[in-house]
């Protein structure tokens, strides 16, 4: 299959599987982009995920960079359209249908069921990021430090911690 069709279909598939948010599809995204299609290696995936943290808005906008890496600007556009068009059309139609079930007890059942599933998927997503991002004691300590600071200072904008960690990394991990 041609790369551009493949980029589109991989990200379209990932987007419709993203139940409870983008972190949920990170394990599958890693698997498809690294093991199945060999577009990236582990370190590149970690780097590109990091780039997503540096930009505002949803972190998973970094799919654009994966697309760019595979097929230049056209690849970036295809990854974006693939990742957002199908899921957005679903959101538009399903939210209108969903509103019709306003009083249905099954609607509550679905929501209650999806709660723990999405938390489970988020944890699996963290495990997947951690497997490439935590490579030894120094990176583990940095992750723990960021977690500790964010738990102590609830009102702190996490962006500052991301930037600080980038500076610490540039100074210490060279």
């Amino acid at each position: 299959m041609h790369d551009s069709i493949r980029i589109f279909s991989v990200f379209a598939l990932l987007s419709v599987l993203a139940i409870g948010g983008g972190t949920a599809v990170l394990p599958e995204m890693k698997h498809l982009t690294i093991d199945t299609y060999h577009w990236l290696d582990d370190d590149q995936f970690r780097d590109i995920y990091g780039l997503g943290q540096l930009a505002p808005g949803p972190n998973l906008l970094m799919v654009v960079v994966i697309g760019y890496h595979v097929a230049g600007s056209a690849g970036a556009l295809l990854a974006f359209v693939g990742f957002f068009l199908p899921a957005s059309v679903i959101a538009l139609t399903a939210s209108r249908v969903w509103n019709r079930f306003a009083g249905s007890p099954w609607r509550l059942s679905v929501q209650r069921a999806l709660g723990p599933i999405s938390i489970g998927l988020m944890i699996a997503g963290i495990v997947s990021v951690a497997r490439t991002a935590i490579s030894g004691v120094p990176t583990a300590l940095l992750a723990v430090a960021v977690f500790a600071v964010l738990s102590l200072f609830r009102r702190l904008n996490p962006a500052w911690m991301i930037l600080a960690a980038g500076l610490v990394g540039a100074a210490a991990f060279r």
Partner: protein, 209 residues
């Protein structure tokens, strides 16, 4: 959409007069440009509910529940649902564009820079630091969400099963979703519904309209 969102007298939400598309775009552009670190929901709430008063708290929670239950990113789903609610399909497209434009262009620019400097040791070292910080941030966000949503032993059991299937046994996400979701819905079927956890963010209340 058929129903008018604000029906009571003095309701802060839009009545009759429609939100201009340019304003809808501008508001979502601001959210898209300023929401760093994955906490988009907090930015959405303060902008849409507190400042613009396009939705009240309950309408906001209903929209949020829907975006979480549907596939796709919560932030973009919210932009589509709220945009659709205020101005129909065009509103959804405009809000989505505003939400994603700043981040997508910036991350694209970063990606181009990265491609040119991929082998620079300082760039690599900085991104190693960012990656480690992302793990700390994700844990903190997930813990906060989990504390709110997981109130019952059954919830915890489902979480454990999902994590084990994906992280330990490497079962594909499609398979996990088509097997675990029906079982979980069955376990939470209306007649067997266990009491909701303390703060299910208005799940038990009837949605606004």
């Amino acid at each position: 959409m058929g129903t008018d969102p604000g029906e009571q007298a003095g309701s802060p939400s839009v009545q009759g007069d429609r939100v201009p598309l340019a304003r809808l775009f501008g508001v979502f552009l601001m959210i898209g440009a300023t929401s760093f670190g994955g906490g988009v929901v907090a930015y959405l709430r303060s902008s849409l509910v507190t400042r613009q008063r396009w939705l009240d708290d309950e309408e906001f929670l209903t929209a949020l529940e829907i975006s979480q239950a549907l596939p796709g990113l919560n932030a973009t789903n919210m932009s589509i649902i709220v945009g659709d609610r205020l101005r129909g399909v065009i509103g959804a497209a405009v809000a989505f564009a505003g939400m994603t434009l700043p981040g997508a262009s910036l991350v694209f620019a970063l990606g181009v820079l990265y491609a040119a400097n991929r082998h620079d040791p300082t760039v690599n070292a900085a991104l190693i630091g960012v990656g480690a910080a992302a793990v700390g941030l994700l844990v903190s966000v997930t813990l906060q969400l989990g504390r709110k949503q997981l109130g019952h032993a059954l919830d915890i059991a489902i979480v454990v099963v999902v994590v084990a299937l994906i992280s330990v046994f490497h079962v594909s996400l499609v398979v996990v979703l088509v097997t675990v979701t029906p079982v979980a819905i069955y376990l939470y079927r209306p007649r067997a519904l266990v009491p909701a956890p303390a703060v299910p963010s208005g799940l038990d209340k009837k949605p606004a309209d």
